[in-house]
């Protein structure tokens, strides 16, 4: 008898989703689907507004990474104005973006994934969360909160608030950075460096206990896409698009990101509100054009990081790939995330030493000069595209947002299926197995909307549905 198992909602991710497992007669997993069940409509309701409002509006797409939308949106605005922003404005935007990388990655690692890694994938769900982590490993939990706070403070100091600061504008940024504020960030850096070193040790210790998970949590060949500097280094704010296959071949040599349409297509499936972007030259059929974005992809596609500590970690990271090939296991998103925190901290240290950083000239002024503007940045979760079409006055006619999580959509579906096939083998279904499947989604740190989860006990709704559509079994944890 075929059955459907539904995990709804998926917990400890940013947003709302459910997972369906389709079992065959023998109880083996036939197929698995990751559904995004919420509908936002940002692309539609922004039409008719002015492009200069877009950083403020699109920041509201997400409360975890509003900064990423601020960056992409302001850059699309720069393109519509047709201006080069003042050098100080670019450095300040980068500074905020690195702060964002630190806080978001810290949240993903410490708050959302560490409970699984440190307390065990199949440990008691009542305590398998940040609260359980606080009671068992208070120092680690506090460090995670402190590291996230560092990133949030950078954002708050620059933008006046840490969530949804409407601080970037087409043409630059709103306010310059005062010297005393710069020094405040500088003073907090040493502690942040210490914490990320500890986190790296913790994760490497967890590798030994999770060998089976590393093998089965989304470990498959795929394409990888990310921005690189013109020299091929790790990049988060600007740069060129590079696509690499899992053999390490660069299939797309560094492309100016405003030409992304040439390589990215978007497909739609009736069972999910999340679009399915794919690598156009390879097509959508049979997952051929599946690519991954985010920390893992960025570290795979770049030639080097560009800062001493991150480069040393990157050399270790590379050894996880077979024979020098890219790292294909999605479990290593965790490692890549920590390396990026390290990189971001080093870059923050570098830019804080720049005497130009406190200059007052932070905004270029112009009128509408281009009818189309594309803005691209690397969000914590991957490459983010904003594409605006405006009329002569600057009123938006068409808006297209390609969100990082969408680009990982195919890979997340593949991951869910792989984990389900490894752990659901005709035997019983335990809560722990379902949590493993959820963790498969968590490694991608998907940001499905602007919602963050309340800590504490996570609700979970599992349904077993028979072939006739009637309920065979049901378990509700609330």
């Amino acid at each position: 008898m075929t059955k459907t198992i539904t995990i709804d909602p998926v917990t400890r991710i940013e947003g709302h989703a459910k997972i369906s497992l389709y079992l065959d007669d023998s109880g083996h997993v036939n197929d698995a689907r990751f559904h995004v069940t919420e509908f936002r409509g940002f692309e539609k309701f922004c039409e008719g507004r002015s492009f200069s409002e877009m950083p403020g509006i699109t920041a509201r797409v997400c409360g975890i990474c509003p900064v990423s939308h601020l960056m992409a949106s302001a850059k699309a605005g720069d393109a519509i104005l047709g201006v080069r922003i003042p050098p100080t404005a670019k450095k300040l935007r980068q500074l905020m973006n690195w702060g964002q990388i630190v806080q978001s990655h810290a949240l993903s690692f410490f708050h959302l994934s560490a409970p699984d890694l440190l307390l065990g994938m199949e440990s008691d769900p009542v305590t398998r969360n940040i609260m359980g982590l606080i009671s068992k490993y208070p120092d680690i939990a506090r460090n995670g909160i402190r590291l996230r706070q560092f990133g949030q403070d950078v954002i708050r100091i620059l933008g006046g608030r840490s969530v949804h600061p409407a601080w970037t504008v087409p043409g630059g940024v709103r306010d310059p950075l005062a010297a005393e504020d710069r020094d405040q960030i500088k003073r907090a850096l040493p502690e942040a460096f210490d914490i990320v070193e500890l986190a790296l040790d913790l994760l490497k210790d967890a590798f030994d206990d999770n060998t089976a998970e590393i093998e089965s949590y989304g470990n498959f060949p795929s394409l990888f896409m990310g921005l690189v500097t013109p020299e091929g280094g790790l990049e988060h704010y600007d740069g060129l698009l590079r696509v690499m296959d899992s053999e390490g071949r660069t299939v797309q040599e560094d492309l100016p990101p405003e030409r992304f349409r040439e390589i990215i297509g978007e497909a739609v499936e009736p069972w999910s509100y999340l679009k399915f972007p794919y690598y156009k030259p390879y097509g959508y059929e049979d997952y051929k054009g599946m690519y991954r974005v985010g920390p893992l992809a960025r570290l795979n596609v770049c030639d080097f990081a560009g800062t001493p500590l991150a480069d040393r970690e990157l050399r270790q990271f590379r050894r996880l790939g077979e024979h020098g090939k890219p790292v294909t296991g999605s479990f290593h998103y965790h490692y890549a995330r920590l390396i990026e925190i390290l990189f971001a901290l080093e870059k923050i240290e570098e830019v804080l030493a720049d005497p130009d950083l406190t200059s007052d000239h932070v905004r270029s002024n112009a009128d509408v000069n281009q009818m189309v503007g594309v803005g691209v940045s690397e969000a914590p979760r991957g490459t983010l595209f904003h594409e605006y079409h405006v009329n002569e006055d600057g009123i938006l006619q068409k808006v297209n947002l390609i969100i990082a999580t969408g680009q990982n959509n195919m890979a997340m579906n593949r991951t869910v299926k792989q984990i389900a096939q490894t752990y659901v083998n005709g035997g019983g279904l335990s809560e722990g197995i379902l949590n493993r499947i959820e963790h498969g989604i968590r490694v991608f740190d998907p940001c499905l909307s602007c919602s963050t989860h309340a800590v504490g006990q996570m609700p979970l709704h599992i349904q077993l549905i028979g072939p006739n559509g009637h309920l065979v079994d049901e378990r509700i944890r609330d």
């Binding site: 409002e53 409407a166 009128d367 006055d393």
Partner: protein, 252 residues
Amino acid sequence: MSVVTLTLNDELISANSDQSLLEVIREHDIYIPTLCHMEGLSERGGCRMCLVEVQGSRTLQAACVTEVAEGMVVTTHSERLRKYRRMTLELIFAERNHVCAVCVMNGHCELQAVAAIEGMDHVRFDYLHPDLPMDISHERFGLDHNRCILCTRCVRVCDEVEGAHTKDVLGRGINCRIINDLNQPWGSSQSCTSCGKCVEVCPTGALFRKGATVAEMVKRHDFLSWITSGREKNEWDYAGQAPYYATERRKE
């Protein structure tokens, strides 16, 4: 001009007979919300925020357009008034799209401030959310009908102070719109002098400087008293303006 005696919130006071109730109320340091009223412009009595109870009158009166009279008994704050003010505010919020979170005037908006002061924490009516356009055809300024509460301060300042009468009101009831000249894009207006007075007096984010983002607009009203005192009394208070010019020059 004669002096009249009236009772304001149980207190016997005197006032000049040509004063409006609102002037007298403000003179006595009693807070009463207003949105369409602006010092230096004619009164309209449209926003209904300054409603007061006048003994002997069946209906509530807008203080800004009610003249004081001998023996008047006026109450500025009561449960009934609080209810009416809040309901009026809720209707204003329900009529168009006032999303503070993404508005250029967030944090500096008079409508937002009045709603907070009057304790309007939710709207009981269905939001109409009409699909209204933005006009950003002007070189320097933008008009967003979604944020407009039809206070007509812009219309009055343009007519009475600048003397251009570019702005006016089109339509009736819920179809009312602020227009430029003969309902044409602002940028194509022949009469507009681009002085920006309308933008400065607008209480919400309906009129704004182009390119402004969330919470970035701060509006200045002091130019109005500067112009009116100059025009009417030939008094140009440079001493009062000095600190402003000093800071502006420092910025340059």
